[in-house]
Symmetry: C3
Subunit: 364 residues, 3 copies
């Protein structure tokens, strides 16, 4: 407990934890204050995500490399997963899918673009390990291709058979999770030396004792789940008040909130001229969502959702995912970066954000 | 003849040749046993393809480099060509187009993916000639772009004028064949040193005398044509029995059957850590189909088909072709491979295969 | 004046300047001779573009590097800009958009392809600066992605709200121009060493005195504007006579005419084995159109156009732009070229040109 309090004292971001009890209290007292609840829940999720991330790393650091790497990789997007599961249970499939697509796009374009920009403002030209970046970009490209092609194919041929969609989605989910398992075998066991730079980068902060970390992991996950419920319930109404389309909220707001902790690590790595770390977090997190979180949600929808959810995305989302991952693969291919590369990635992100923001609300 | 028999004795794959007389006999005796005929014709085509491949190489080895390379390049996909011509004469345009698209996708994703996987299980990281791989991937990408863009453009703009489609298809076919001629001039004459590794790789097996090889070439081609006829006639009915969509049969089954011999060479090269050979066969074969086989079939449809066949593919096929070639170009760009890269290529292939398998049958 | 006359005497291309008075005279005397006016105006624009290009370089060479580079970059596509502004004022939005898309496709595929081909016929394998080429290709890819994604997204989702389109287009235009400003800061100020090869390449010809150059710049711009007016008025009718679709005229004819001067520089660089120059001109010019000319025209439409013009392109154009820039990014990635690479780029261009030529005329 002392460790957690110590951490909180030294990390201003964690002072936002004060919002956790506030949001839960307000939810009890004024459940109809949607806009307030939305703002409060965003403020509460950000520090919880940071704590979750630190707890995961502490457990990972203690349990030995193989199990630790596994844990780190599996729980890395826990915040996103909990938010999405909450939305899934509420039957908000549009929000779930937007948050999956948004997390991939935000991790690649925004997280990487801002890392390049922030790093480039301090360092003239930054170099990073091309071989490792290429390997990771390869995983990411093929993962998102596997994820998005079925939408493209079924959309393009306008075959809307619900039975077809469902069978295909389940089959793909199983395939993607199998590929995810193999990717962990690859990056943690058989070819771990290729991914070393990115892993070792996290060692900066002192880890917690494993008991504290495990308890924190459990407790914080519960808190995230509670706050996520408030967030998911309030987000639609709040979006209307702020004049935001549901697509914008899912794509941009949820992705930025859920990824806040990882972004902090990626940006700090870039400032310290350790771009391998930033590239590893951005690409690794994005491929984890495509290969693990998305298919898990499809399978989970059979258990906890009101109806089965498929893997089909709306065509604009597929286009954005493919453009984002191909752009990033292209950019990271050179192993060099300068500030303007970051500007261009951010510009593409801004284009997407602007398009989604202006998009008139509609069915789907 | 002795050489051919000797070859047959030492190559277990060729024992399947016994199925050739069987399939022709069954076709005479029980022409309505479609499922049986389908299975038998698949078993018969595989060893014929292997013989054809060996005969072509033997002729090529004897006639000097320029003519030999020409022959090798032109006849490399003879099995696919004969099957497609048979389907063309029968007016099965859906099958023809699916087999063209399928051959490109199968050669790139499956042949290359399995080569990377098989090679990677034996060797930790495999390196191959980046410059040659890039040049070949470049040819392939631009070849498939040239092939598939017209579909994209005309589809996207929904201009379905039949006259427009026909004129465009013929013009494109002439253009693609001209490009194919230039590509041979490039790879066999002006810049042959770039393609050396892939060419020399075939030298492992003892070639036949040229007379034997020429006779085998002629004889086996006739046999392939005869068996193809049975195959094309039985495939539709058999597909129904096995619950396979016509798209799946054309895309996956025909491509795997027609490419069996080349796959054997590519896989054996990968196991021997000669990935240049595997990459050369996979990319070379795919671009040959795009630049030579496909346009030749369009032109041939005016002579032997019931109606002219265009170059338009259905949108899903175009998406698959582009994704497959861009993925392969991206992957081969690094000149390095490990087993998981193969897994990812195979996974994309499986995603395509699963989508096609589940696709409800429809018009087109 | 002596300098300009001297230049004209030694450059046969400039003898075409004789067509400038001819076209203006014919326009007064026989305003209904559309075909003649079209041919004459094409003949007149080509030498004017060459003069404009030389005048810009001369001013740039005198005013010091930063301002000069700025001028050179801003005025590099002045011919295209004046033609497009004339078409904009006439309300020919189809022509404006086709000429934007066409300039990007022509600069990348035709200008670069012909440079590779012409250079490759003289030199076996040509090498150029990969790092600089990659950086420029990166700018281009992200620029065209930013330009074309909104069309893809709004098209795909079939949200045709005019208000949405207009707001989005204006927002994007501002964003793109901001990115263009930053790209100049990047390439002329903070990271100019990366772009040096391409800049220094122009130094071959003796610059004019700055006064002469400024006067020429002003005078020639007026002439281009006058001739463009004739061109835009006559092009539609002439296209009908020659059996060309409006899409073909905008995409191919206007782009080739407007880029004639730059092409001459790029081809001559390739022949002298200075491919860095050719790649720099082709990619730089294309990204300038995407980042600066296109958004400027959108904003200008609010001032001089009959109605506001959006950034939406028809789907086929978006596909062509993306294919063209991704192909070029892929090809330039290796830093090596041979003649057949040029053939393939030209082939893709020919495929596009043929498709557009055969396209039946329609609305839009």
């Amino acid at each position: 407990m002392k460790h957690v309090l110590n951490e909180i004292r030294h990390n201003p971001l964690l002072w936002l934890l004060a919002f956790v009890p506030v949001v839960l209290a307000v939810e009890k007292l004024k459940p109809e204050a949607h806009t307030l609840l939305f703002v409060l829940s965003v403020c509460a999720i950000v520090p919880l995500a940071a704590l979750l991330s630190h707890a995961t790393e502490s457990v990972a650091a203690k349990t030995g490399d193989a199990v630790g790497g596994l844990l780190n990789a599996t729980l890395g997007n826990l915040t996103e997963l909990v938010i999405a599961l909450t939305a899934l249970r509420a039957g908000e499939y549009m929000l779930v899918k937007a948050s999956i697509a948004g997390a991939i796009v935000t991790n690649t374009l925004f997280m990487l673009g801002a890392s390049f920009l922030l790093g480039g403002l301090k360092h003239h030209v930054q170099e990073y390990n091309r071989i490792s970046a290429r390997m990771q970009a390869g995983l990411l490209v093929l993962a998102t291709v596997a994820l998005s092609i079925p939408s493209a194919v079924s959309r393009a041929d306008a075959v809307g058979g619900a039975a077809f969609s469902q069978k295909l989605s389940v089959g793909l989910a199983v395939l993607l999770i199998a590929a995810y398992g193999l990717s962990m075998l690859f990056s943690l066991k058989t070819h771990r030396e290729l991914f070393v730079a990115a892993e070792s980068g996290e060692a900066g902060e002192a880890p917690w004792p494993v008991g504290v970390a495990m308890a924190a992991l459990a407790g914080v996950t519960v808190l995230v789940a509670l706050v996520s419920e408030v967030f998911v319930e309030s987000v639609q109404k709040a979006a209307e008040v702020f004049g935001m389309s549901p697509a914008f909220v899912g794509f941009i707001v949820v992705a930025l909130v859920g990824g806040a902790a990882e972004m902090a690590s990626a940006f700090s790595g870039a400032r310290k001229n350790r771009l391998d770390l930033s590239v590893g977090i951005a690409l690794g997190s994005a491929s984890q969502i495509a290969l693990f979180v998305a298919p898990l949600l499809v399978l989970a929808s059979y258990v906890i959702g009101p109806t089965p959810m498929g893997l089909q995305f709306w065509p604009g989302a597929v286009v954005m995912i493919l453009i984002a991952t191909f752009s990033v693969a292209f950019v990271t291919n050179s192993g060099r970066s300068a500030w303007f590369v970051g500007v261009l990635l951010l510009m593409v992100y801004l284009v997407f954000a602007m398009t989604l923001y202006l998009l008139p609300p509609q069915g789907n």
